[in-house]
């Protein structure tokens, strides 16, 4: 049975200025993404993967075209509504900087959970469950600088998942990790996708990581190919 549509992108274009040049980072991208997908964006550097993730995550706005999230046109949303959607329905995993350096793994997860309305009960239990799910229960009191790259990425996964988001957007989540840690993070994301039905959209260069995806969208020069 086909899952409901999460995202609908129609003729999305995005440009940015590099020096005196206008760079077309997205060119008429049209696609649909369904709930529960484990979707990979593949392509060389500069192909538009990160820009597409940013547009999907409401971190950047397209120059033209439309992005509908669960049927709602994101371009018509106020800044406040966009903040609310990111806070309640989205989780993010970035390539390197993911965690607030002065907070422990526990506090990094806890802070974003406490920011949700009506989330004050069982906070400790839910944070520990999230950390336990990514294998970081013993590192809960450690700060990012005391953790390995893999542990930091897993803490970011815990932070993204603790609020039960509709979608997790991950930009090259394994790029700064060695093979073993990279595989571990991907397996973790896959497990969360299968167990909790969370939609994962991630970009990667790594062919082995791509193999784990249900669907791969290849990008080149800002277009899906």
């Amino acid at each position: 049975m086909t899952q409901p549509t999460l995202y609908t992108l129609t003729d999305v274009c995005h440009t940015y200025t590099a020096g005196r040049q206008q760079v077309h980072s997205l060119n008429n991208v049209t696609l649909e993404i369904h709930k529960g997908e484990f979707l990979a964006l593949a392509g060389p550097s500069g192909s538009g993967k990160t820009t597409l993730l940013n547009v999907l995550g409401l971190l950047d706005s397209p120059r033209s075209g439309s992005v509908h999230l669960q049927g709602v046109d994101t371009g018509a949303m106020s800044q406040r509504d966009q903040d609310h959607v990111r806070r309640t329905q989205m989780g993010f995993i970035f390539q390197t900087l993911n965690l607030i350096p002065v907070l422990t793994a526990f506090e990094n997860v806890e802070y974003f959970l406490l920011r949700l309305p009506g989330s004050r009960s069982n906070v400790r239990k839910r944070v520990m469950e999230a950390l336990d799910a990514v294998g970081l229960a013993d590192q809960a009191g450690q700060r990012p600088m005391e953790m390995s790259g893999g542990q930091r990425q897993r803490a970011a996964v815990a932070r993204a998942l603790v609020k039960d988001p509709a979608v997790v957007l991950a930009d090259e989540p394994t790029a700064s990790l060695d093979h073993q840690n990279g595989q571990s993070v991907i397996h973790l994301m896959k497990r969360m996708n299968q167990e909790r039905g969370v939609t994962f959209i991630f970009s990667t260069h790594d062919a082995k990581v791509l193999a784990a995806a249900d669907r791969v969208i290849h990008m080149e020069d800002g277009r899906t190919v």
Binding site: N54, L59, M90, F112
Partner: protein, 405 residues
Amino acid sequence: MRLFLMLQMALRHVFRSRRRSVFALLTISIGAVGLFLFMGFNGGLMNQYRANTIRARYGHGELSTKGYRGAAHARPWELWVTDARGVAERLKAIPGVRAVFPRLTFGSMLIHEETMLVAVGEGIDGVAEAAFFDQLNYVAGGDFKDRPDTIVLGKGLALGLGAKVGDTVSIYARNSRSEMNLKEVTVTGIFYTGIPAFDDGAFRCPLAVAQEVVDTRAVERFAVALTNDEGWPAFAQAAALKLPELEAVPFDVLDEVYYKHGVDFLNAQFDIIRFIILLVVFLGIFNLISMAVVERTGEIGILRANGDSRLDVALGQIMEAFTLGLLGGLLGILLGWLLTISVLSTGVPMPPAPGISRSFRILIELTAADAVHVVMLCTLTAVAGCVLPVFRATRMPIAQALRHA
């Protein structure tokens, strides 16, 4: 809850980013110390200047018959106070009055050997005045206290007469009946105020001598010493009720040309110096806080990506800057106070001031009001320093902020 979270995050940044916080607190506290000590020095200097003026000549103020002061009189004795003892007792009964000093100023000629000079004499109660007026600057000898038939001369007058301590001079004065009286007195001291008009033509002698040569039992005016330097307005009000025929004038009006104008001149200079110190402190703190915010642009990107609003982020940063400014200011006050009670406990040595032949020390006088002023200033500067960079960082597209990682 949201504000509590912001505050908790701000405090965690302050207490866990130790290197950055120590650097920030040092910068802010050093600025606060500089400003606080300068304000204390300024206060000490002004207080000493005021105390010197009060204890050199004027007391906290003087009273004379209404209409007497500020005008020349053909028959001044008609406006002198005849019941000197009774008036002095009534003035002493006013709360806050420490002592009352009757005085009598008169025109005369001084004669020493072959030299005769016109001079203005002032008859005073030597014993009572010596106990309070301890700042008159003597270059030779000292007060006559209770020694009868004595005199102290201004430095210029003594030079003109060729008189020195121990010499005998004659006071030649006209009384109210236009008769000339002559009185021989012994020089006990030579004073120097730095005011040529005074030093070149003034002398002091016991009140009894002045009354004898002028042939009166009256006094011209009363100098008043109070227990509290700030007590003049209340005293003047009480004196006006008790003795409505007298006019009370504070020392800063009596010595307007030298004291009041001097204070105004110094204050104007200090305001400029204080402004420059403030500017340096402001720029230091502003730069530091701005850099801290710029360094954290990536972190701001993470917060924004995960749903914190621009206001949430700005509030967090402002709370952090507020905390740093407050702690830095308090630390500066503590350091300033410790310096004041240790290495600066004996004050700052100063060269002789105008009108004074001896060097002196200015005590650093710290006040609670100055401390509050400095802490508020540090806190406001820190907050002001973060507003612009925070505004920029929160207006930046989130994707761009994340690239600062």
